[in-house]
């Protein structure tokens, strides 16, 4: 509640929050079929129609309504972004926390393992995962999740190491608090701030990566729409039907802009170091 209020009070938080909120609504509408047209319906006579009263954003090669597909695509892109970032966050946090807490060999082994993943070119990693398992929503989720896990592990490990030396953790140890208690209450709870910020930024990046994967034909599968797929499908139609490229591109930019703005605001709000008068 307090957070929501501060977001609202923060100028870029307000804009970013509003954008993200609008997108969530769109995504939900898309997911529950509350679109002006059936996103899969091919109106054959109206193929490649420019924006008009009945098709606000025009139609595509198949005569499908771009707006409806865009709404569905937002849902799809957000699903991929959300689940991939969520899984990366959970796995990365657990790994980062334990690496910081147990230190020594476990830390070394884990961090070297993360190095292996990090040293692996991200798009290739995603590519390999996708080619092995076959493309699809959940493969994209797994691929992007794997790419982001080492980043979250690092994001968590750093602050966790310094939190570990904070006085309240020492205090907890003098009480003889259990490991789980310390890890969850003292470390994890205090990592919420950097994690939230990282999550919003990662969401933005995940949207871009999803678009990139779909662009290479490795992401969302037709006939379902995702923003990246719509972009990649329309690039060779850029000249005949520029709206096919323009609207999804704008949609992607705006959503990433929203997440970035929100992330900036959250950093200002949650991170006392950058909190300024």
């Amino acid at each position: 509640m307090r957070i929501l209020k501060s977001i609202f009070a923060h100028p870029s938080g307000r804009i970013g929050g509003a954008i993200v909120l609008v997108y969530l609504v769109i995504a939900l509408c898309g997911a529950f079929g509350l679109t002006p047209h059936d996103p899969l319906m091919q109106y054959r006579i109206d193929r490649l129609h420019g924006p008009s009263a009945s098709y606000w954003m025009g139609t595509d090669l198949f005569g499908r309504d771009v707006l409806s597909r865009l709404m569905q695509g937002v849902g799809q892109s957000f699903t991929v972004a959300f689940f991939s970032v969520a899984s990366a966050t959970i796995v990365g946090t657990v790994l980062g926390l334990t690496a910081a807490w147990y230190g020594k060999r476990w830390d070394t082994v884990l961090m070297r393992l993360m190095d292996v993943l990090l040293a692996f070119p991200a798009i290739l990693l995603a590519l390999l995962v996708v080619t092995i398992v076959g493309p699809g929503t959940w493969t994209s989720v797994a691929a992007i999740g794997i790419v982001y896990t080492p980043i979250f592990t690092r994001v968590v490990r750093g602050p966790a190491l310094s939190l570990k030396t904070r006085d309240f953790v020492d205090a907890a140890r003098t009480f003889g608090s259990s490991r789980t208690y310390i890890l969850t209450r003292h470390l994890l709870l205090n990592l919420v701030a950097p994690l939230t910020v990282q999550v919003t930024l990662a969401l933005a990046w995940a949207l871009l990566t999803e678009a990139g994967l779909s662009f290479l034909g490795l992401g969302t599968q037709p006939p379902a729409a995702s923003l990246g797929l719509m972009l990649s499908d329309s690039r060779n139609l850029m000249e005949q039907a520029p709206w096919l490229l323009a609207f999804p591109a704008l949609a992607i930019m705006l959503s990433i802009l929203g997440f970035n703005l929100l992330g900036d605001a959250l950093r200002d709000i949650l991170d006392p170091k950058t909190r300024r008068a």
Binding site: L40, Q42, R47, F62, G134, P222, P223, N236, Q240
Partner: protein, 477 residues
Amino acid sequence: ATLRMAWAQDATGLDPHKQTAFSSLRLLELIYEPLVRLDADLKIVPGIAQSWEFSADGKELTFKLDPKAKFQNGDAVTSADVKASFERILDEQTGAANRANYLSIEGIEAPDAGTVVFKLKQPDAPILTAMTDTNSSIVPASEIAAGTIGTKAVGSGPFKLERWDPNSKEVLVANKDWAGGPTGVEGIEISVLPDESAILAAMRTGQVDFALLNDPLIATLVPNEAKLQLNRAPVLAYHVLQLNPARKPMNELAVRQAISCAVDRQAVLDTASLGEGKVTGPLTMPVYASDPDSLFCYKRDVEKAKKLMADAGFADGFTATVIAATGEPPTAASEAQVLQSQLAEIGVKLDIKMMELNVYVDTWLKGDFDMAVALNGGRPDPYTMYNRYWTKNGNLQQVSNFADDTLDTLLQQGRAETDPDKRKVIFADFEKQLAEKSPWVWLYTSYGYTAQQKNVQGFVPMPTGSLYSLGKVTLQQ
């Protein structure tokens, strides 16, 4: 002058006997020559061989070689080279792509340097067409012995490969010794521009004289440019929805026919390819092709389809998965989506599964699919084109999963028959049967596109997609 050329996909290797990829053949056919070739009307014309003839019993095929033919290393092309080349193709160790077409060869004789005689176990009319294939090119016997085929390109064609940076560029220079006479340009520089819209951009700015295009969406933009010209040639390759008759419920004839009736082929063509192409039956070569409208259910008939479904006990439809390769052809995903929407009308629910090309090929070869959207290569001869799928011991039986006595018999007859008119009758029947039994749903053939600056002269588009005529192309200043 040097012709600056661009294509999106580069060759994958230099061994003319092994490389089957379209992109590889386009390069290799400029360097290597087969014994005979096809012209724009798919008629057989001289290549390295000046003339040829079948013996009366059809079991001996004799070639006279062109005495001017020379390899790029300066050696003349002799019957020994032809013999060695075909022995290499026939050797199982080689893994040559065309071997299956030559199984009727019993022996090869080279009575003199300019004559080659193929002894056949049985009459084999299509063997001559098979020999037009770049995959049956003649290579120097010396290079075979040295084991350098595939690493060094030494052919007898119009151009010499001077430099190859895979996936980046090729430099070809004119072969002064080419038996076909002097080439029109001094050389060809080929750039690999993986993005076809970039190829178009490069042509617009005059950086590229000549380009190979794949994507009809890009090709249709070319005529809008004053300086550019688009060449279209109908090709033999066909777009098809392969059903797997080994899987339920496609094992039911009625279900397959229902699917065939429910598909609006023209709509698929219009949407996926912007209408760039022609609806086709199984036979795509003009000589043999029948009028599509005469084939089974080539007029869309949803009511009939529904009835057929009901007859087969699938009034409520069923769910199946259709596989397609990403970007190969570029229209695959679109075709799948149009088909999906059309079949939905008779209750057939398709799940589309896009696959990376190799994964697709792997799955396809195992016959591990309900349905597949495919672009299958065509051959000038119906037997060579289809024996692999529809004869009982065809090599790709596990892909077609459909063995049928009538089809088998018709193909065997067509193979042995050397009279062209009788062959036409046999294959017309074959085509009709195939369309009716509907193991696959043939959709359309598209065009092979090349785009060129208007000052490029003398290019002849071929139904095989061959760029062989680049040997005679000139550049007007």
